[in-house]
């Protein structure tokens, strides 16, 4: 039994073919979420308050609150400033090619696989029973 009826249509760029806007949007948001995760994790790990961070950067708390609220207007400089002000940190860079990576082994939780396979076998048994009844 399928647990996801439609499969991903994300694919690597090919030749001169235009990349779908949605694919670019997905990777844009994914990148922002990962950077946001990085900065927010560092902020939470540091234990400093938004007020302290605001003072370190010479900004109002409203600006810091907005910056930590969402990465919408962040620039590379914002990321650098936030990380350094939080803990003297800087980002590390590297690239990965996730569409080249091996597929994960488990897309669904184990309990779901068991239930859906049980459900399939129940369906098979029902079909067999129906055939038996029809043959009588």
């Amino acid at each position: 039994m399928p647990t996801s009826q439609r499969t991903s249509t994300l694919y690597k760029p090919k030749g001169d073919e235009q990349i779908p806007l949605g694919t670019l949007g997905y990777f844009e948001a994914r990148n922002r979420n990962r950077v946001y995760d990085l900065v927010l994790s560092e902020f939470l790990r540091s234990g400093i308050s938004q007020a302290t961070l605001a003072r370190r950067l010479g900004k109002g708390t409203d600006v810091i609150c907005r910056w930590l609220g969402a990465p919408g207007n962040w620039t590379l400089d914002t990321v650098s400033n936030l990380l350094f002000a939080i803990s003297g940190a800087e980002p590390e860079y590297g690239v990965s090619r996730p569409l080249d990576g091996p597929q994960r082994n488990f897309a669904a939780p184990e309990w779901l696989s068991v239930i859906t396979s049980d459900s399939n076998s129940t369906t098979v048994k029902m079909d067999e029973h129906k055939t038996e009844l029809e043959s009588l």
Partner: protein
Amino acid sequence: MSIRAEIGYRIGEGRLFQLPPLMASAPVVRTMFVGEAIFEAVTPPWDRSPDGYRLSRLRADLDAFTEGHLISIAEHPFKKPNIAYMARTHPPKDEVWDIRSRDPKPAIRVLGCFAETDTFIALVYDYRRNLGGPRSREWRNLIERCKAEWRKLFPSFPPHKGEDVNAYVSTNVYPL
């Protein structure tokens, strides 16, 4: 029968869909199931339109949950910092939670309930601009729609209820 079995049946009926991260190589750390409307909205291919683009970004926000990213959760429906990824809606006893996809504008809200720890069932969504203030009729209607969807799917099971944030999301969570 357990709620897990019910989920399996609803998937078999095509009324519920698992939403693993779109990136096939990404790990599945938490589990999300969605209703048909959300599944259609966040599954590619998306239209080459502002709506399609926005929904592709919503998908990335939902994948942040399933991939196990750090997520911030606000337990108080009306006193939540703007950094909250997820917030409880009012009234808390309804156990309806809201995933807040804030960027870019227009923001989108996805409402659902937990079936168990780390398993979220997302049932309805709307653009934030359609919802008015936090105590508006529009918000209330969306919450009621979510509750009605839950009752249709799981008539014998109330949503999961926990003592604290970790009862909903076990790891990599920041309570607000």
